[in-house]
């Protein structure tokens, strides 16, 4: 039996890149995302182009019932996996005080709860004949306390710590865990706009999503615990790790507040024009 990968958030920018990368390597796929239509379109296309076996199932990962239905479906299909790529996640950027209780709950449920539960369930469905590889999409934001993205960076820090600990815990059990820590990626017009709002720094820290997906699979196959795509980002991370956190938070805060302000300003200008 060949490699079968389970990918969450597979219809989004990075998830889609992972799906394409895995299909191009001849992996069979099980894809999930919140909406069924783009998912089945992508599945058809991957099947046509790469000739691999692709299954998909729409699931709202923030909802426990929807997740239960997903597990039931996977179990009834008799699938066994040896790759789990947890991509689904979201960010509500902006001042914490302005977030609604609903947004706070949604982020916790998707970025943390769903990731943990899914990892737990899929570990039970691993193919015993092969090494089981988990990729958790954390973020470069995991390395810093980030004002204006406080909840997001903390949730990604959670995933980073969890991945490292779980990887160590399951090392002798033929399981590897890799935390992917990318900077912003140009996947949607909104992301591209956010990268532009950061100016030069945004541009040099940005990696193309196809490259990130490909390199990350290589890293996971080597059992690397953490992967930061892009040399400028690895330098940033290294610099951040030797400077006291209070100073890092101050510096990051001033940059992000400025970038966030510019973005809001742009959106206002844009709205005034349209």
């Amino acid at each position: 039996m060949g490699t079968t990968a389970f990918i969450t958030g597979a219809a989004g920018g990075l998830g889609k890149a992972f799906a394409v990368e895995c299909a191009s390597r001849g992996f069979d796929l099980f894809l999930t995302d919140i909406s069924e239509t783009p998912l089945s379109r992508l599945s058809d296309s991957l099947r046509n182009t790469y000739g691999t076996d692709v299954h998909c199932y729409g699931c709202d990962l923030t909802d426990a019932d929807s997740r239960a239905a997903l597990y039931a479906y996977v179990k009834s299909g008799g699938f066994l996996f040896n790759f789990l790529i947890n991509v689904a996640g979201l960010d509500f950027e902006g001042a914490f005080e302005e977030r609604t209780p609903d947004q706070i709950r949604t982020m916790l449920r998707l970025n943390i709860e769903a990731n943990l539960e899914l990892t737990h369930e899929l570990l039970k469905l691993r193919d015993p004949a092969m090494t089981f590889r988990i990729i958790n999409v954390s973020s470069l934001a995991a390395f810093y306390p980030m004002p204006v993205k406080a909840m997001y960076s903390a949730s990604k820090r959670f995933l980073l710590n969890f991945s490292r600990a779980l990887g160590e815990e399951l090392r002798s059990r033929n399981v590897t865990v890799t935390a992917l820590c990318p900077a912003g990626m140009p996947t949607t017009p909104e992301c591209i706009e956010a990268i532009e709002a950061q100016g030069f720094a945004g541009r040099i820290t940005t990696c193309n999503v196809g490259y990130v997906a490909s390199k990350t699979i290589d890293m996971a196959l080597r059992g690397k615990p953490v992967y930061i795509p892009g040399l400028p980002n690895r330098i940033l991370q290294a610099a951040g790790s030797i400077i006291p956190e209070s100073i890092v938070a101050r510096v990051v805060g001033s940059r992000w507040n400025a970038a966030h302000g510019r973005r809001m300003q742009r959106q206002k200008t844009f709205k005034a024009f349209s």
Partner: protein, 291 residues
């Protein structure tokens, strides 16, 4: 000489070369269906053309050519529009829409954006409209290629440059793919005894906004300077109209045209093995089987 009373489809006809060609063809009396990505821009292009040519036989259909299902929907819309106006054939299909992207962006079907819009969309739209073109006296397919198809090749091990994306390299590849497509299409049509002919048009350096689509930083600045030195879109539009209406190009056997004159395309673009391989890959990507 030329028979201007033709039914013509032009993709990407809301700006640049496509809009200029639509104006030219409508003024000569042709029936034109233009396409564009945004409904709003389609409507305003339509108004603009009716403004300069009252009574113009022009209509527009909106479709996002980055999505294969949208391309199929567009083809159905074209068939419907033609039928509604009493036509059971299409004389000319001009695959002109094109784009540029600074970043690797993947489409709903999981393809790289430039590859999907500049190559797969023309491939699939032509496939869908071939039966209608076959019912014309002189069916013609024109693809807007570019001089940037020279001095490049297809990277078969990563044809969409997922791993090492480069804006210009990706663009050059898609324009090369256009010439390869035209080459293989002509070969297949001739083998099937069809009278349809396909041409690739080299528009030269033209002052349009293509360099501002999904790009940023240096690419935009460079294009700001380069496009100023380019010809206005009316110049390649004239060549486009010439290929669409004049019987002369059909009789020459030449497939690559610039300024109403044939030109030698790159040697790579004429390799039958490459053209066939790209064709078969494109068929798989578009989910076309058993032709």
């Amino acid at each position: 000489m030329e028979n201007a009373d033709k039914t013509i489809v032009i993709t990407g006809a809301t700006s640049g070369i496509g809009l200029a060609a639509a104006k030219e063809l409508v003024l000569k009396g042709s029936y034109v269906i233009g396409t564009g990505r945004s409904e709003e821009r389609c409507r305003s292009a339509e108004q603009e053309i009716i403004g300069i040519c009252p009574g113009a036989k022009i209509s527009y259909l909106a479709a996002d050519l980055s999505s294969l299902s949208e391309v199929r929907r567009l083809a159905a819309g074209i068939r419907e529009t033609l039928a509604k106006d009493g036509f059971s054939h299409l004389d000319v299909l001009i695959n002109n829409a094109g784009t540029v992207s600074s970043w690797y962006v993947s489409t709903v079907d999981g393809f790289e954006l430039q590859f999907a819009v500049n190559h797969l969309a023309p491939f699939l739209l032509t496939h869908e409209l071939l039966p209608l073109l076959g019912r014309s006296q002189a069916g013609t397919v024109i693809c807007t290629s570019s001089g940037s198809h020279y001095r490049t090749r297809l990277r078969w091990n990563d044809i969409m440059l997922r791993k090492h994306y480069n804006t210009l390299l990706a663009y050059k590849q898609t324009k090369l793919a256009n010439v390869l497509f035209v080459t293989e299409l002509n070969r297949r049509l001739a083998a099937a005894g069809s009278s349809i002919k396909a041409f690739a048009l080299d528009p030269g350096l033209v002052n349009t906004d293509i360099g501002f689509k999904g790009t940023l930083g240096i690419a935009r600045i460079v294009w700001q300077f380069r496009s100023k030195g380019g010809t206005p879109p009316e110049i390649p539009a004239r060549s486009m109209a010439y290929l669409a209406l004049d019987p002369v190009p059909r009789s020459t056997g030449k497939i690559y045209w610039k300024d109403c004159r044939p030109k030698e395309p790159s040697a790579y673009s004429q390799r039958p093995d490459i053209a066939k391989r790209l064709w078969e890959l494109s068929e798989r990507m578009c989910g076309i089987v058993g032709r």
